[in-house]
């Protein structure tokens, strides 16, 4: 029996050695790592499951493929929630596609990491200078990505509710001050008619936290990082103004105005009448209008002292640095820069077209239109998230810190700790400055 075992072992080792030899000699038929097979280029998008936006991407690709015969673009769509993980994994395997979309705040990190190559957009029909600044991503003076649209943060309420409690309806020119806002919350809370006086949407686990709440911090006069050199968060994130923001943020919970953790769908809670004022985005405007009609009040962000602020930059398009056919990728990206596609994206997604000319062609966003307030807010109040490769880390730290503050952590200590972590990350990685 033992001799049989030995024979079996020897045979197995021989088989393994043969397999290893074959593997070592392999290599023919490799698909390579270029994101392009000759003149056939691969395009990745985060739009799987989002038929409206995906439809526009498919239309542009179809038009591009039909309009010339040199290049062919083929699409692979990924679901948004797992898109970044797929890209990072592909980058580590050197399998990035030629053309890909990227969430705006991540562009500096992907450029620094060598995922993205700079773009030359001079041949597109739409000039870069005509776009909302938040829709063009630059890093170290080079353009790495551009978007067809942006979104805007806003507050929703009902005119009838504001009128009932004798609350002034704020405008872009005259937004609520901090005092007015807190008075409004106190009046609504005193009525006892709403489960949530204010819903900040704190149930969302992702990028919503820095996107939605860092503009409030900026409006107080603080920031996520000192943007003069992008080398430290000291002073910006733990200075007097930032601490003031943190204390105010926590007070929304302690005073019973906002739930510490919102439900999974704050928009449905607002439409169900459970919430009086909701901090949300332009993407909910149509559904809210469908529900409340002319009673819907779309309110600009509050001016906490340093002017009203909203986050800027949404999904944008770029080219991978490993693309073996950069000429083809550039050709596609420049082809896509036509006003009609800016319009199509904005219509399909209910977002703000990235140029004035396109916005005029989107119903509701034209001058005087019901949703034109979003375009104006994006033009006047948008602040892009810090242009540094450290942003994904800053985003994580800020989200955790804001959660801790909302849960009752000591504001100064929490912000000091956040600054220490961010500064440590900045110095460890020796990130280049933003642009």
């Amino acid at each position: 029996m033992e001799s049989r075992t030995r024979r079996l072992t020897v045979s197995s080792i021989a088989a393994l050695a043969a397999a290893a030899l074959v593997a070592g000699c392999g290599g023919s038929g490799s698909t390579g790592s270029s994101g392009a097979d000759g003149d056939t280029l691969t395009l990745w998008t985060h739009n799987a499951g989002n038929a409206a936006e995906y439809g526009v991407v498919k239309q542009i690709v179809k038009d591009f493929n039909a309009g010339q015969s040199k290049y062919k673009v083929k699409i692979q769509a990924f679901p948004q929630g797992s898109y970044n993980d797929s890209v990072v994994a592909a980058a580590s395997a050197k399998k990035l596609p030629c053309i890909l979309d990227v969430d705006g705040p991540n562009v500096p990190n992907w450029a620094w990491g060598g995922y993205l190559a700079p773009l030359d957009l001079s041949k597109g029909k739409v000039a870069v200078k005509d776009q909302l600044t938040s829709t063009v991503a630059t890093y170290q003076d080079k353009t790495y990505a551009f978007g067809f649209y942006d979104v805007a943060l806003t507050m929703y309420s009902r005119k009838s509710v504001l009128k009932k409690y004798d609350i002034r309806v704020p405008t872009l020119d005259q937004p609520w001050t901090k005092g007015e806002f807190m008075d409004a919350l106190a009046k609504i809370k005193a009525s006892g008619k709403f489960k949530n006086t204010l819903d900040l949407g704190t149930g969302d686990p992702g990028e919503w936290w820095p996107y939605a709440y860092s503009p409030m911090l900026q409006s107080f006069g603080g920031d996520l990082i000192d943007r003069s050199a992008y080398k430290t968060a000291k002073g910006a994130l733990n200075g007097e103004k930032a601490v003031e923001w943190g204390k105010w943020f926590r007070s929304l919970v302690t005073k019973g105005y906002a739930p510490q953790k919102s439900s999974k769908s704050p928009a449905d809670d607002f439409r169900n009448g459970k919430t009086a004022i909701q901090w949300d985005g332009s993407w909910s405007a149509q559904a809210n209008t469908d529900k409340f009609g002319s009673d819907l009040a779309i309110l600009p962000p509050v001016d906490f002292g340093d002017g009203p602020k909203i986050g800027g930059a949404s999904w944008q398009w770029g080219m991978s640095s490993t693309c073996s056919n950069k000429e083809g990728a550039q050709a596609y990206l420049n082809f896509s820069r036509q006003t009609k596609y800016f319009v199509d994206f904005a219509k399909a997604t209910g977002t703000i077209a990235a140029t004035d000319a396109a916005a005029q062609q989107v119903k509701g966003y034209e001058t005087g239109g019901q949703f034109n307030i979003f375009l104006k807010a994006a033009q006047e109040f948008a602040v892009v998230r810090p242009v540094t490769p450290a942003y994904p880390y800053i985003s994580t730290v800020f989200s955790k810190t804001a959660r801790d503050i909302l849960a009752g952590a000591n504001v100064s200590s929490a912000l000091d700790q956040a600054v220490s972590q961010i500064d440590n990350n900045l110095s460890t990685n020796n990130y280049s400055t933003g642009s």
């Binding site: 038929g29 698909t31 499951g49 999974k264």
Partner: protein, 303 residues
């Protein structure tokens, strides 16, 4: 001598009845407690979004009342190639289970029944791998599978290709060999008398004959347990496929759930899709429940 002491008090007919009722009530309460999330999922899959959140504050959240329809299920098929994803997951899970049972039982057989030097060290090394979480080596594994060769059939030609990314095999083969399955088989095989092997040898059986004709037929509960324990992670696989699969045609069901998380998620559709992908797992567990419990009990392994 007759005893004057009173006979021990017999429990009255009411006491055991009350105790039984209390026990049953506790069991029902416990069952409901664990069933509620599943009931909520199934019921919510029949309601529009606004109603799901409107009903949350009352018992209506667990009842199919209000505007009930199959619209969410229709929406699932509009948004996601659900049939394709289900087909992929069933195939990937089934092949992983079959190969896993074969490979791991063979390994356990060698470790449990054969006599060879160093097998205790090998067994310890195998068990030691259990403490390494998959997430820690997922990225290096992506790099590794991207270097591996594969034979592709093109008509009548075999072509040697490099890299397993974006294939079915990359979703199956890395998960066939499993330390826990080897350990479980090993523990179970230890409980089978070795005299059976000796009797089989006298009758002319070789090692593979003993494995095939003696040990495996006596290991039904262990096979069922390994089948379930291999099936569950294969079915629930999420991180790995989203890292190594780019083509939609090759994606499994769990990646599909992300299709629903857009700026305004459709929770009714999420519940409908979740119901669709949960039912096969529940059915499998119910089918193998008896063998599963039996194997866990006999092998002394707690999950």
């Amino acid at each position: 001598m007759t005893s004057a002491s009173p006979a021990p008090a017999r429990p009255g007919p009411r006491t055991p009845l009350l105790r039984m009722l209390a026990l049953q009530a506790a069991r029902i309460a416990l069952a409901l407690f664990f069933a509620f999330p599943i009931v909520f999922m199934l019921v919510s899959s029949l309601k529009p979004d606004q109603q799901i959140f409107g009903d949350l504050d009352s018992i209506k959240a667990f009842l199919p009342v209000g505007h009930v329809s199959l619209d969410n299920y229709t929406g699932v098929f509009d948004r996601v190639p659900a049939a394709r994803f289900l087909f992929n997951s069933i195939g990937i899970s089934a092949v992983t289970v079959v190969l896993g049972i074969f490979v791991n039982s063979l390994a356990a057989f060698a470790l449990s029944r054969m006599r060879w030097r160093g097998k205790k060290i090998v067994l310890s090394a195998v068990i030691a791998t259990l403490i390494v979480p998959f997430e820690t080596f997922a990225l290096p594994l992506v790099w590794w599978v991207n270097q591996l060769p594969w034979l592709e059939v093109n008509g009548f030609h075999l072509t040697l290709t490099e890299g397993w990314l974006d294939t079915y095999q990359v979703q199956v083969l890395p998960f066939v060999a499993n330390a826990f399955s080897i350990f479980l088989f090993h523990q179970y095989f230890q409980s089978i008398p070795k005299e059976l092997d000796e009797a089989a040898v006298i009758d002319g059986a070789n090692w593979f004959g003993i494995y095939r004709r003696i040990v495996m037929p006596l290991s039904g509960p262990a096979i069922a347990t390994v089948a379930i324990l291999t099936f569950l992670p294969a079915w629930n696989s999420y991180l790995w496929p989203l890292m190594v699969v780019q083509s939609e045609d090759l994606r499994p069901v769990m990646v599909g759930i992300q299709y629903f998380f857009q700026l305004n998620p459709s929770w009714g559709e999420i519940m409908a899709y979740s119901s669709m992908i949960t039912v096969p797992v529940l059915a499998l567990f119910v089918a193998f429940q008896r063998a599963f419990v039996s194997s866990i009990a006999s092998s002394g392994v707690k999950g």
